[in-house]
Subunit: 674 residues, 2 copies
Amino acid sequence: MNSLSLKKIAAGVYTAKTGDKTDGVLSLVANEPKIEAINNNYSDAPLPFDGIFTEKVGNKTVVCIPRNLSERHYGPGLRFRSLATNFSVLHMRCDHYGGSDNGRTHVPTPFYLSDAGYGVFIDTPEFITFYMGGTVRTDAKNPPEEQNRGRGPWSADTPSEFVEASFEGDADVYVFAGESMLEAVAKFNLFCGGGARIPKWGLGFWHRTHTQFDENDVKNEIKLFEERNFDLDVIGLEPGWHSNSYPCSYEWDEQRFPDPKEFVSSLLKKDIRVNLWENLFVSKKAKIYEEIMPFCGSHKVWNGIVPDFTLEKAREIIANQHKKEHIDIGVSGYKIDECDGYDEWLFPDHTSFPSGRSAAAVRNTLGILAQKNIYNAFRKENKRTYGLVRASAAGSAMMPFCIYNDCYSFEQYLTGLASSSLTGCLWVPEVRDAQTPEEWVRRFQMCVFSPMLMLNAWANGVKPWKFKEVEDTVRETVRFRKSLLPYLYNAFYTYAEKGIPPFRAMCLDFSGTGSQKRSGLDHTESPYETLRLFDTYDQYMAGDSIMVCPMRPGEKTRKISLPAGEWYDWYTGEYAGSGEMLQIECPLEKIPLYVKGGAMIPTVEKDGSLTVRCYGNSGSGFLYDDDGESFDFENGKYAYCEMSFIKENGAVTGKIEKTRGDGFVSEYKAVRFI
Amino acid sequence: MNSLSLKKIAAGVYTAKTGDKTDGVLSLVANEPKIEAINNNYSDAPLPFDGIFTEKVGNKTVVCIPRNLSERHYGPGLRFRSLATNFSVLHMRCDHYGGSDNGRTHVPTPFYLSDAGYGVFIDTPEFITFYMGGTVRTDAKNPPEEQNRGRGPWSADTPSEFVEASFEGDADVYVFAGESMLEAVAKFNLFCGGGARIPKWGLGFWHRTHTQFDENDVKNEIKLFEERNFDLDVIGLEPGWHSNSYPCSYEWDEQRFPDPKEFVSSLLKKDIRVNLWENLFVSKKAKIYEEIMPFCGSHKVWNGIVPDFTLEKAREIIANQHKKEHIDIGVSGYKIDECDGYDEWLFPDHTSFPSGRSAAAVRNTLGILAQKNIYNAFRKENKRTYGLVRASAAGSAMMPFCIYNDCYSFEQYLTGLASSSLTGCLWVPEVRDAQTPEEWVRRFQMCVFSPMLMLNAWANGVKPWKFKEVEDTVRETVRFRKSLLPYLYNAFYTYAEKGIPPFRAMCLDFSGTGSQKRSGLDHTESPYETLRLFDTYDQYMAGDSIMVCPMRPGEKTRKISLPAGEWYDWYTGEYAGSGEMLQIECPLEKIPLYVKGGAMIPTVEKDGSLTVRCYGNSGSGFLYDDDGESFDFENGKYAYCEMSFIKENGAVTGKIEKTRGDGFVSEYKAVRFI
């Protein structure tokens, strides 16, 4: 048993190594931590506990992190069924989500939160198991009392003085202390490099075409969208664009795309970007096959060889090929598929890799290193990219990629949105299909307040007008998303500069929004009576001020919980309530939205004018802007404007004033405060 | 890469060590292998493959077992959703079944079968991962061709030349070669000590009373059963009999059971045995607490200390206490609960144990060592026991315990029956409750052809007459079970002497009864098109000759598959078919049963006479008998009778003749052939 001595490295940020040979994910990813942003924006909170220690058991290192018995925990990792994790045992491993929140997930980042206002991050690329406060040591100082189930009442849960975590090798342990969980998350995100800088076009309307489409099919599809007034920003090409896929060649199928450069240019002329699907398993037919072979592992996936992405040389071969064949002709980004696993569709845990790193380490970092590789390739061209990926890890915050998966459950997609904010990544609840017109609309609506509005027709070739009776509603939903651009762009600015996630679980902004529920004792369904923590995931925050309460398909009314503070109806501007539960109805055309009193929400009209929606009697806000596609903002090419308003006798008087930056890039035709 | 040199140790049985430091489960359990039975009954088949090898990767040993690309695999481990396992990745770990066949199971025995007629067993107590023929090495001699998903058709599966398995430390590798999978299973079971010798009373009617019952409640319950003519053989007491449970004291609650000896005796006078529930986590209130403390692990479970069952001393303390407090006063056996995990309700993987063995090794052997301990305690008294347990491992065959769990799915309980025969254990689909009278009956019927007919009312206090309208049917179902005693006792004799499981998956007796099914390509449900092997689990063999085709609740008709050979209807004796599919109807009172032509099924009538049911025109069979409760059969105190019959003009002429053994224990009033 070795006590671990944590040293301060930024305001309220502490770290220690469990041993000398650490090989953390952050060091592999090499994002620059935003120490200054942490120090400038947040408190210098003390270490939230004493007595953290490690021990070696077999070939595992165990870290024991003290906790109060009543602390509520969130994470580690991206989850799809619940947020709070007390008493869970989580075997974290990068994998496709398999229907239960057991640690196998697309983003198994070993970072968890406590509602006492801190986060703990154990930086190792190895598989790591977390025992979230339910393991009682025989030598515990403060053990729970024995119970007698034969003379109930009895609970199966045994609160422990420690969260315990075990893994092979050594790790860097970090504690992010603050005055709230939000502060802890923000510090973690800033430490990982700050939130991603999304290009403006990335916040528009995405559509992925059928996997068998050729150049003409895509152009015809675009024409159909134009005729129907669906304004596309990004077209995604699925596996069929490759000359070989599963495994992949990364080269254009010459029959389908005889002139890729002309194809991409012609789309760019229409202001439509091209995003390319790929997986990371290399086909014999790829031109890079022979060159990358020496940097690949001992086992294949889908008969393709598997590059060791922890090797710079392997990444470089791919980046060079991508630059030449895709980026230089105007491709805007990638969808990096299949890097998460499902176990059966990945290399075994005993695969050898040329770096000498374990298969676990390669697996857990495959997604984040592939993202970083793409990000860097665009960065060198002073271009922002935006894309999709199915696996990530620590360091995700900075990466302009959304996590997606194949579970396609409305409820679980919604939970993913809340959970992503607790684990430093972006999650997209893409639209693929629907059984009813109502479901179709509700799924589009969920995407409006998400990092990406995307229709994914790779398999079924579905169009937004699938259901005639709601075609107009879907069109208006897409337009609504586009009108929110200034507000969403603000939110991503805050993500980058302050580490605050753009879409957030309620528990981050409002502590104590969860509940406890005792599971029933039941001899056929659940023979253990347990006390479980539940947290709100069916409403969430988008940006500073909007609370989104999605309607589920089939739902005519729903309950919403308004936290303390003044809340206003988005549509009417009327006062809605404070600190209360409401039962609301909502027509299909609308998303239930509530806005904080005093908020100013900048939106853009079809004619290019700016409308700032003001809620309550007075308030303030800001508007951030830049060119939306380069990194020139780093050299001052941006505008940060402060805004304020007063409402008197129903009339709004607003002000907007640039206070920082060298330019106001968007030329808004007019500015209106309502 | 080290090639592994397998040495023959019995007819068609081969073994090798992957290294010097093996600590196999079989050596911990110390069952006597029945080498003579293997040699006398089975073929001296050659090794089914060349080129098995091992390698060390990190701290894992990898074993690569060659296979033909077309081999079909079953196992490892007890499963609940499907039998065939090709392409699966299975992280074997003793655990409660969690809804998917991913390797976490009550019986994670690392033994798998090939339809080429062999089984492979890797004897290690550590967690072990199996890659069931889907992992393609980069240096494969015979790799599958690359496919192109962009130009379908495409399958996600990549058949491999190897099954690969990885684990920490070293292991004994065994190959059981034969002319069929049944032979391979039989050899494995005999090598593990042969099938369990169940006492006759164990094949009767079991009922577990409500957990809060005291002595009088139990006696009153028995009276009710007598009044309703439900003839009980075993009463199970649930946690409330302990002075403390969860964690456990193993001592009688003095208020509820002031005179346990008198209580148990009074039941024995009625020919009713008492079975005691327990878990393995020791309460401070237990008299053995101080004594066993030095032999316990570093973490508690439900605030109880956890004995290291790999230590003889720990087992001895428990066995002595059990002998004195329970066995000596006539208790017949135990239900050993909670030894499987659920992860949250077990010790963490980094728990230290005084034996120095890993937590994995202790976890994986907890169930089997607890069984062996109980078995030995009764063996010393020349008494057979029979009970329940929620976890087991290699060596299970010999243990008179049934595996059970909490999933309570009719379909999955049925699958468990088939699967148990492939992994060397007994599985019981106990009755706990039902939504409808029909389900109630169908669940009892499934138990008739299972190792144990048990109603488990621990939580709800349910009685067999829960549904008045089917009370008679349930009563007749219980009587039917009891009438089958001679036939079931024969089946268990064959299990013990020849290793043939009493209840068997169809694929063991009839190869090629499975099918292949291509999963649909679907963008929302299943984005991978895969070829999966399916095997029949909804009909199964019971004993030598009966095929059971259970009706599911809600099913009015069902399809059955009659394999090649002559099949007869159990009830009418009429010829039913051969090698064909039938669509059958079946009234609620009946279980669809088909009997092999030439079979003789001994049954016992209510008046104590023996009726031998003869199917087809002529045939033969046997009848094994002994005292049903001791091990005196080892000293010749048994009777083995050969039987034969001829049917002419509808009249059956039968013969029965003792050919081995010193006694014919049961005094049948009469013997009748029909």
